[in-house]
Symmetry: C2
Amino acid sequence: MTTIADVARLAGVSTASVSRYLAGHRVREHVAIEQACNELRYRPNAMARSLRSGRTRSIGVVVPDITNPYYAAVVKGIQDVTLDGPYHVFLSGTDESAERQHDVLVELAGRADGLILIPATEQSEPSRELQQSRIPVVLVDREAEDVHAFDSVVVDNAGGARLAAEHLLELGHERIAMIGGPLNTTPGRERHAGFVDALADAGIVMDPAHDEEGRFKTEGGYQAALRLLGARPGPTAIFSANNLMTIGVLRAVNELGIRVPDEVSLIAFDDLDLGALLTPPLTCISRPTEAQGALAMRLLLRRLEEPDDGAPREATRIVMDVSLTVRGSCAPVSAPAGKRRR
Amino acid sequence: MTTIADVARLAGVSTASVSRYLAGHRVREHVAIEQACNELRYRPNAMARSLRSGRTRSIGVVVPDITNPYYAAVVKGIQDVTLDGPYHVFLSGTDESAERQHDVLVELAGRADGLILIPATEQSEPSRELQQSRIPVVLVDREAEDVHAFDSVVVDNAGGARLAAEHLLELGHERIAMIGGPLNTTPGRERHAGFVDALADAGIVMDPAHDEEGRFKTEGGYQAALRLLGARPGPTAIFSANNLMTIGVLRAVNELGIRVPDEVSLIAFDDLDLGALLTPPLTCISRPTEAQGALAMRLLLRRLEEPDDGAPREATRIVMDVSLTVRGSCAPVSAPAGKRRR
DNA sequence: TTGAAAGCGCTAACAT
DNA sequence: ATGTTAGCGCTTTCAA
């Protein structure tokens, strides 16, 4: 291990000068120092540096599920903003678990200058643990109980769910089912509320048996769809509240040999990579992904730059729009609801 | 910021005792210490700890592309192995760039006890930078020039490509195209070689115009497919060498209104999430993903546990099997190759 | 601009 | 089993 002292000795200066050179200051012996660094293949010790300076030059990103392409896209947006900046970005996953999230946050609070967090649940108190650690946090996609404590970037979940409901209603559907996510997550709660409200506005009350919860997982969507489609009479349309669950629904539909949209209409929150290439192509609620991540990162960088004078800052909350992408997985109800075979 | 000294004072012991308590040793005043820790909400400073002990209790994972579901699955496998261990796992992306990978490795070498790396290119010398840093590295999916320097977990790329070629040959295809990846990556090189060799064994030389390169990206696969399918006579079958490029091919095929497998057969290396649900379902070469990651992690943990007595260890190299999943995207050539319309 | 020196918070000898 | 103490490698006063 070669240290700054080795470099200083070889260059014939003090460690302070080397340190200053490294920090980009003007230094007389900068040529000698540079050469010494190269010759010794010197790499500053990040731990020593951080311990002394209090800064780590890294920011942590915490997502509930690494395998969800939606989060991957958000992370991509984050990374692209940081490309040539001084910060390194590290990603950690929590597997949708509040306990694991706790561990990860405690760990990261000591290793990063700032955090971008997609909370596992709204109750998972990033607040307590993080607020005392004093490092800036930006929430993405999901919020925490104490909304006002952190900057956040979210989408209009309720509006998107309403768009989906209204699309179905316009096509004449009445026996409509929803496969939602956990109600203790922001998207789970808001999409459910938006959907139910929109139906209610049309005078339709969703059958409790049609109100499924799929934990935002492929398997959950699959099981829920199996239940929904196994019942008589089944729903004429299903709204699945995230990408992974939609994949589960598609599996179920495929397995059961049910024709879409003839026998059942499908609409989803979030597009799929292959959404447009399916038969039929998937009708869905689309939203920005990379842009959401990029925005969050900019918000975080702003916090990182502002002087820490202890004065509390007002939290920024950005809500992004979503839109309906009509493709081929929804059709008008062909027969009076009561008389359809399924 | 509360330090170990604060805890020691409150508990009426020395900092050493607190440190020992934290390390899990038997300590007389452990009750008082525990209480003091809670009362002060004490969190050990990770930087100080690492600086002093030389260990970070974290391992870094470096992948070329965060948005590729294949890598996400590998990472999932890695994480699952670490679940209750003492190590925290951090993920970084390199965007398939050797320069970015260099930066990331330099950074991570100082922040992690071990690394799991999927190299951007075989020439991207993790060797030089990492070998002097003395931290254990396990390579996954792709290898580096100096193979013997690191443990690695890979799949039988050449064998898989051969499987694909032979499947096509059995169906009578002769005008066969391939969309490969960069030849300076292990999978790019090996899959290309395996495919070309298998064709050669059947006495078929691939038309140079049918030997495309799609950079393992969706867009690359899309553009390559467009070129391939725009030519007359076009190939009767296309082998795309990874998941992302397959998506690109599917887009192109869909856009051009070409029927699969009637007009062109498609076979891919790597399955897609929705591979079985496409119309027609995708015929592909399947391979373990999470298992690959899990194995790599176990290899790394083994290295981390072995005493660092400076004695060089023999590198382990694990090659996992792949298999052919026949679904519906390949069909026999219906007419003599020379007379088909495309 | 430069160097000397203090010390960030912790762990690991060492001595007891 | 416990306390004392040195020091990990670096940055940042402070004086010159």
